[in-house]
């Protein structure tokens, strides 16, 4: 948050598309290098389909770049390369686990499916950028988004299409593909919250009564949003999806805080969270179990126990074994960790690529969050600010909850690791999130018409500018 951006009227951003292209090439080296390293580590040779795979990956990434160059020339240049690097690395790790799963005769083929989902995610990314020329038009869909989010969250509870996997009923299965509608609902909820809050923020902040130390807003201002939030949260609790419940709660709280600029909301929210966690601990066996597993996983590991701590203990063993630089692809035993390619992919990376890669990935995630919040700061309209903040914070919370859970910083709750884990819904939703952030940042960084220099050095930027206004 530099001083320059505090006064966006005076600072003129440059498109920086060249920088993005350069960073994308670096990101491609990460993805392809990892793929080659998997081949070398597992089968002592560069994979035979290296060129094809490299071509496909490069094509997808370059396609993104070209679309951004034309329809969002002022978009943030860092986000796309970071995401490309993470997605490429994730593919390589999933492919590496596939090889071992094939050897062990277990379910495999996750990598090719993931590649298809990535293509779909990128298609949606491009579509979002092409269709949505101004993020403010989303504001029209405030209530539609909210309703859609609730419907999506309800879908897994429907009798035919809903499926329960690993104790959580958060999946739908259509035509052989399983999908987590909650991932899309996440984006829709951000839009709904932002649209509502930007209209009612003054009323929420100023009108109301003071009860004890807190200024409570009027019921008619808070009511709809509280209702929406309670419904979505209720559904999640009912579906036993702790991770998403936590995520949505945090999201709601943060957006309310940003919209009203009242830190009191954080205090109220924090108290509610503590109370909720305590109540959940008392009321639900599965919440209590998560806590116990977190406090002493070794008590639930090995013969003669329920063995529920296996995931956590094997993760700790694996990451410790990886140490500073990791065992290298093919030299670790990530297959000992259940769900090593989805929720626990971070443990696989820690084991084979070491603390070095772990730090790198956390930094990349940090960079995404930072660019998202920077976009929010620079953004000129309240709606854009709220959407960008919401998306960035969702991302940050999700990364914290899943990585913190896997590395035993906090109790484990099931969430996917953005862009790394297998799982189409999450991947697609995250690509859309990035598209939205790019769209908002393009709007935010675009020079004001008056500030446009007469002779623009970037003709395409200028043309786009004209088209868009």
């Amino acid at each position: 948050m530099s001083a320059a951006e505090a006064t966006p009227g005076e600072f003129v951003h440059r498109p920086r598309r060249g920088a993005e292209l350069f960073l994308l090439l670096l990101a491609l080296t990460v993805g392809l290098g990892a793929y080659a390293a998997v081949g070398l580590g597992m089968e002592d040779e560069i994979p035979a389909d290296m060129a094809t795979y490299g071509g496909v990956l490069a094509l997808m990434v370059i396609a993104c770049h070209v679309v951004v160059r034309f329809v969002a020339p002022y978009a943030d240049p860092v986000l796309l390369p970071v995401v490309a690097a993470l997605n490429g690395l994730g593919l390589a790790v999933i492919h590496r686990l596939d090889l071992t799963y094939t050897e062990l005769g277990r379910d495999d083929g996750f990598a090719s499916r993931q590649l298809i989902w990535m293509a779909l995610g990128i298609a949606l990314f491009i579509a979002t950028l092409l269709v949505l020329r101004d993020h403010r038009s989303l504001q029209r869909f405030t209530y539609t988004s909210g309703l859609a989010a609730i419907v999506l969250l309800l879908l897994p509870l429907m009798p035919v299409i809903g499926t329960q996997i690993n104790g959580a009923r958060i999946w739908i299965r259509v035509a052989g593909f399983s999908f987590q509608p909650g991932e899309i609902a996440k984006v829709l909820l951000v839009v709904a919250f932002a649209g509502y809050l930007v209209l009612h923020r003054d009323a929420l902040a100023l009108a109301g009564r003071r009860v004890l130390f807190i200024d409570l807003p009027r019921g008619r201002d808070l009511g709809p949003i509280l209702g929406m939030w309670l419904i979505s949260l209720g559904i999640l609790v009912f579906q036993r999806d702790l991770g998403s419940s936590l995520l949505f709660f945090g999201l709601f709280l943060v957006m309310l805080y940003v919209a009203t600029e009242r830190p009191g909301w954080l205090v109220v929210g924090g108290t509610l969270f503590a109370a909720g966690a305590f109540a959940g601990y008392q009321a639900f066996g599965h919440v209590r179990q998560r806590f116990d597993l977190w406090l002493d996983p070794f008590a639930y590991y090995g013969e003669g126990t329920s063995d529920l701590g296996r995931q956590t203990v094997e993760t700790m063993f694996g990451m410790a074994w990886g140490g500073l630089i990791g065992r290298g692809f093919g030299n670790g035993r990530p297959e000992l960790i259940p769900f090593a390619n989805s929720d626990f992919i971070f443990a696989s990376i820690g084991e084979e690529l070491g603390l070095t890669a772990v730090m790198g990935i956390i930094l990349l995630y940090g960079l995404i969050v930072e660019r998202g919040l920077r976009t929010a700061v620079v953004c000129r309209d309240g709606f854009g600010k709220l959407v960008a903040t919401g998306l960035a914070v969702t991302f940050a919370l999700q990364v914290f909850v899943v990585i913190g859970g896997v590395t035993r910083l906090i109790p484990l709750t099931g969430l996917t690791t953005p862009f790394l884990s297998t799982g189409g819904s999450s991947l697609v939703a995250n690509w859309v999130i990035i598209a939205l952030l790019l769209r908002i940042s393009d709007q935010a960084r675009r020079p004001l018409p008056a500030a446009l220099p007469e002779e623009d050095e970037e003709p395409d930027a200028a043309t786009t500018q004209v088209v868009k206004l």
Partner: protein
């Protein structure tokens, strides 16, 4: 709205900082503890899969790792499983024994002396390779000992140890019954478990290394120690000195009388050498009583009793000479009964001490440790364990032991053309159980190359258990194998 966003940015930074610190704690700070956790399959499997170093006798491996096709890349193999079982021990997925256990860090490649090799491995990203251990054992002596015990028939329980007197190198170490170490190297853990349960349940305890883990009353072989104490006391100085004799001896403070089993032990006094040749109980009971418990214990400890001295194998039992014996017990200790108990290794060390002019050398099994590149990392230097007796005393006892083999009870241990110094022993055990047969000797008497101790607890073939007849031929075969090499 920018102020809350900035606050959120700081909050997110704290979250990510916490993740980084936590990852560092997990992968760096706590990594050592987690890697040392015995239920950590990664570490156990990786160690188990390594190209483990060989255990060598001479140039021949008695334990080696060969490439295997299954998930563990190497298979441990023992070319002569039964013969060397108790020395090499076994290397199973769950545990190790013997040299496999004591030298595990070196064999598995984790030893700090392999630091440079490991550094190279790390840089070249190859798995560590273990160093090798060369034993002091002599294949000829070991074979003679193993076959000697085997010749006593199925069900024989016994042990043989041979030592090079002037160095302490252990030349043979065999315990019977033995077991197939290859069965423990099985990668089929079900079968491995069955093997362990089967062998562990057997009453003749094949997993026990009797040479160092069984302590039994040494019987008449302990008369060497009593004789040494008597000579060291200054009361006697030559083989011809007269010592108490007689056909029976009444234990002090009791009405128990002990005789000599019909051997000629004179009436009042007899020459020291005759008492030794005929293994006269009456003489050594009287001598022990005369010397007292303190002098006897001091002498026993000078030979190594009441201490541990073998560093190369785990779970060694201490030979015992208790300090709190009353008078009748002290007298009985003179003939190796009462609460006196010794391992076969200890009795071999008694002979070796006499053979080496009174100095007992510290026994050892490992000659050399080598890196995977065959560089010598460490070579064991012989060292004195203790000064048991004066050279003069040693000379007198040697003379008496030579006479024992030449003319007395030890004739089955004689080797034609070579002077052998030896002593038999037949120790009483619990009533109703057959006695134990002991034999200890060294040869050649004038230039000792090998000291042997043989213990036979139970022989397969029905034969009279007496020290000389069972143990003598085995000691002789082992000595010949060493002298002829």
């Amino acid at each position: 709205m920018n102020r809350p966003i900035r606050t959120l940015a700081v909050f997110c930074m704290l979250l990510f900082g916490a993740l980084m610190i936590n990852a560092t704690v997990l992968q760096y700070v706590n990594a050592g503890d987690l890697n040392a956790n015995p239920s950590n399959r990664r570490v156990v499997d990786a160690t188990f899969s390594r190209d483990r170093g060989a255990i060598l006798v001479g140039r021949e491996p008695v334990a080696r790792s060969v490439p295997s096709d299954d998930e563990f890349e190497y298979q441990r193999e023992y070319p002569a499983p039964f013969k060397y079982a108790h020395v090499t021990g076994y290397f199973s997925y769950f545990s190790q024994t013997g040299i496999e256990r004591t030298y595990n860090p070196l064999l598995s490649g984790d030893d700090s002396r392999l630091f440079v090799t490991r550094l190279v491995d790390m840089v070249s990203n190859s798995e560590p390779v273990g160093g090798s251990v060369e034993l002091t054992l002599d294949d000829g002596a070991q074979t003679a000992a193993f076959e000697g015990l085997e010749a006593l028939g199925e069900g024989t329980e016994g042990a043989v140890v041979a030592i090079e007197p002037d160095t302490g190198r252990i030349l043979a170490m065999v315990s019977s019954p033995s077991f197939d170490t290859n069965r423990f190297a099985d990668h089929d853990f079900g079968a491995l478990n069955d093997t362990f349960e089967e062998l562990d349940a057997r009453e003749d305890e094949p997993l026990l290394n009797r040479t160092i883990q069984t302590t039994l009353p040494p019987g008449s072989t302990f008369k060497i120690v009593t004789a040494a104490a008597a000579l060291e006391s200054g009361a006697y100085s030559s083989a011809d000195d007269l010592v108490p004799g007689g056909s029976s001896y009444q234990l002090p403070l009791t009405d128990i009388s002990i005789e000599n089993g019909g051997r000629d032990c004179g009436t009042d006094t007899i020459p020291f050498t005759q008492a030794m040749e005929q293994s006269c109980n009456t003489t050594f009971l009287a001598l022990a009583d005369e010397l007292g418990v303190e002098a006897m214990q001091e002498q026993a400890e000078a030979f190594g009793f009441n201490s541990e001295y073998l560093d190369d194998l785990p779970l060694q039992a201490e030979s015992r000479y208790p300090g709190d014996l009353d008078e009748p017990q002290t007298a009985l200790s003179g003939i190796g009964q009462s609460d006196v108990a010794a391992t076969p290794l200890q009795m071999a060390m008694v002979s070796a001490g006499i053979a080496n002019d009174g100095t007992v050398m510290k026994p050892y099994l490992v000659e050399e440790l080598r890196s995977p590149d065959l560089d010598v990392l460490e070579r064991t230097d012989p060292s004195d364990l203790s000064r048991a007796v004066d050279p003069d005393t040693a000379e007198v006892i040697t003379e008496m032991m030579v006479n024992t083999v030449a003319e007395g009870t030890g004739t089955p241990g004689a080797i034609p053309g070579i002077d052998v110094a030896g002593k038999t022993g037949t120790a009483e055990s619990a009533p109703g159980r057959p006695p134990y047969a002991w034999f200890t000797s060294f040869a050649p008497a004038d230039d000792p190359q090998v000291a042997v101790a043989v213990l036979v607890e139970a022989a397969g073939q029905p034969a009279e258990i007496a020290g000389g007849t069972l143990g003598g031929p085995i000691a002789r075969a082992v000595s010949e194998a060493v002298i002829d090499r």
